[in-house]
């Protein structure tokens, strides 16, 4: 039943292909075993048995219903509400009466503070990918061997990911304060000249933020990549070694490309997470000086200009803008980067089609 496994290296992702639930999606990587004859007969029999209406419909409603209801109430309805109130100027109490149409959206796009926040988000996205990716790949390659203590090492690397961003932010802001532990340590080591205002220097703060983010999330990337590497059969390495490839050649020519799907998933999660960054920035820099320090994000902009300023209509408009930006980025990414991994997915091309063969 090899084909039940193939298409799902992109399995963490939205829209792995849905239509052919019995597997048989396009192979994501070259060395996957050949597709065995489809079990279409069996599945269609199973499907046909239930195709007649009411019992099946009732089951679907019962099973999927609660999730759908909760989801609609707390996710979809807020999207709709945000879209609605985004057209008003509204202080948050009573009904919304001051209809301003698209004015809020215009204000957002023209506001230099938002543009800067967008820029910072972009920097964080790129910085996260560039700083965490190579480091995590190297670490994963290094650690991808059977050795004693591998479990412990993996656990310890993963620890920062588990800790709440609030805790991380509180701890780091104390450590990086102008009179805090890091500068103190540098002075103790005689490197006092290296002491800086890590958090308050507008030129430096964004790098500090990227450093903290790397610290927190590189472990997650390493674990993910390790998992991806373990999906690569030993035989490939052995064959390459037999052919005379060195260790690093093997890593570069075999492991890395086969890590592709995992890399792409990780990058996707990383991008989306970077676009939505809030907790860390809010805790360390507070609601006022994030923009001055050069670390504001769209989410902190939304909270500072929306709820904290009493402008709920405006805040809702910002939420819609962030949503649309994330959506566009995600669709773009799906379409162009993940196309190979998700043949037949909803936004991909329709070459393989959705019908049973």
């Amino acid at each position: 039943m090899s084909n039940t496994r193939e298409n799902t290296s992109a399995g963490v992702l939205p829209q792995p292909e849905l239509a052919q639930h019995d597997g048989g999606g396009a192979p994501a990587s070259p060395p996957s075993p050949p597709r065995s004859p489809r079990t279409g007969a069996g599945s269609s029999r199973a499907a046909r048995r239930g195709r007649t209406g009411w019992a099946m419909r009732l089951e679907i409603a019962l099973l999927a219903g609660p999730a759908a209801i909760v989801f609609l109430a707390f996710v979809i309805v807020p999207v709709a509400i945000a879209a609605y109130y985004g057209f008003f100027r509204w202080q948050g109490y009573g009904p919304a009466t001051d209809f301003v149409g698209l004015q809020n959206y215009l204000t957002i796009l023209e506001d230099s503070a938002f543009q800067q926040a967008l820029l910072h988000n972009g920097l964080i996205v790129i910085g996260s990918l560039v700083l965490q990716g190579p480091a995590a790949i190297l670490l994963a390659l290094l650690l991808n061997r059977k050795m004693r203590g591998q479990s412990l090492i993996r656990v310890l690397i993963f620890v920062p990911y588990v800790i709440a961003e609030v805790v991380v932010g509180t701890g780091w802001s104390l450590m990086l304060a102008t009179n805090g532990a890091l500068n103190g340590l540098l002075k103790d080591l005689g490197l006092g000249a290296l002491a800086h205002d890590w958090l308050s220097d507008p030129g430096l703060a964004i790098w500090t933020l990227l450093a903290i983010l790397t610290w927190k999330y590189v472990g997650f990337a390493v674990i993910l990549f390790l998992a991806g590497l373990q999906g690569i059969p030993e035989e490939l390495y052995e064959a390459a070694a037999l052919d005379g490839a060195s260790y690093w050649q093997i890593q570069r020519r075999i492991a890395l490309p086969l890590l592709g799907p995992t890399l792409r998933i990780w990058a996707f999660l990383s991008i989306i997470g970077a676009l939505q960054l809030f907790d860390l920035v809010y805790i360390i820099w507070g609601q006022y000086v994030a923009s001055t320090a050069g670390t504001s994000t769209m989410a902190t902009y939304m909270v500072a200009n929306g709820r904290n300023a009493g402008n709920f209509g405006y805040g809702n408009a910002v939420a819609v803008v962030i949503f649309l930006i994330s959506l566009i980025v995600a669709l773009f990414y799906q379409r162009f980067v993940l196309r190979r991994d998700t043949e037949g997915a909803i936004t991909g091309d329709r070459r393989t089609g959705r019908k049973k063969r």
């Binding site: 099973l63 999730a67 780091w172």
Partner: protein, 298 residues
């Protein structure tokens, strides 16, 4: 590869996947010193800030002001004891636990049921339903908080743990469903066929077989939901105004601003609030890492 290897294994089974049943028969060899050195450096970097926080709690405020980067000298347990014996910390741990546990149970139940439908039934609108859940990834709590606050307020759940739990369940559903659908789909049709031939109903199949077969995925999803809920800050910030209902991340921030005079005390509180997450993680580490492995490999 047989159906059994379609279900992800624990990650430290020696040998590549595809060699089912080979158990760790011998001790693992030592790695090269270079690798251990690199690992040590990385781990030191990872753990140094945590060590700072933990040690900081053992110092007094004046120690920190005088020598920001030094070790506790003398060791002072008063801050930790103060936090542990005060009611605030435990109240918040309790609140966080309630919220996280109920959220996790809700996420697993609702997510599993919905994923089952999406994975194994065929009906019109299935694609649309799936896309609906997937689109939810683009509208995370951070972004949705402003209108969400309005929704929760109009339902009347402000200042209550239930008002925090229900949205968390809703927002955890996209990731859950996206992770679980492949797992559920990976259950081979033959098993389903066999069950039906034996007279099992579709729902019976669900309770009896699907749950067991998708357990690794369920555990992964449950753990991710638990961690996300435990660490969540923004939602409680907006919805919980009364101190008695604070969860732990909110409590850390409130404590740090209330007792900002006393850096050492804040560090003690902060490090104690890391402990539940770390304990939970160490208990389930194999499952978490294994689950991620499985999710990635399929």
């Amino acid at each position: 590869m047989t159906a059994f290897t379609a279900i992800p294994d624990a990650p430290d089974v020696v040998g590549a996947p595809g060699t089912p049943g080979r158990i760790k028969a011998k001790r693992l060899p030592w790695g090269s010193p270079a690798v251990y050195f690199v690992a040590l450096v990385v781990i030191a970097l990872m753990l140094a800030p945590i060590a700072y926080i933990v040690f900081g709690g053992f110092r007094t405020n004046s120690q920190i002001t005088v020598d920001p980067a030094g070790l506790p000298n003398p060791w002072n347990a008063a801050n930790y004891l103060g936090v542990l014996t005060g009611g605030v910390f435990w109240q918040e741990v309790l609140n966080s636990t309630i919220v996280a546990v109920v959220t996790t149970v809700g996420v697993i139940l609702l997510g599993l049921m919905a994923s089952y439908v999406l994975a194994r039934y065929r009906f019109r609108g299935r694609g649309a339903l799936y896309a609906l859940f997937a689109a939810g990834l683009m509208f995370p709590i951070t972004v949705a908080i402003t209108p969400l606050y309005i929704v929760v307020r109009s339902i009347g759940l402000m200042n209550s743990l239930g008002g925090v739990i229900l949205p968390q369940i809703a927002f955890a559903l996209p990731t859950t469903i996206i992770i679980l659908v492949p797992f559920l789909r990976a259950i081979p049709d033959e098993i389903q066929e066999a069950a039906f031939i034996d007279g099992c109903s579709r729902i019976g199949f669900f309770w009896r077989m699907v749950l067991r077969l998708s357990l690794p995925g369920v555990i992964t999803v449950g753990i991710l939901a638990f961690i996300a809920s435990w660490n969540s800050y923004l939602l409680p910030l907006f919805l919980l105004n009364n101190e008695a209902t604070f969860t732990l991340p909110l409590g850390v921030q409130a404590f740090s601003s209330q007792y900002s005079v006393d850096t050492a005390k804040v560090l003690a509180f902060t490090s104690l609030s890391m402990i539940p997450a770390l304990v939970f993680f160490s208990l389930f580490e194999r499952r978490i890492v294994g689950g991620l492995t499985g999710a990635v490999k399929g």
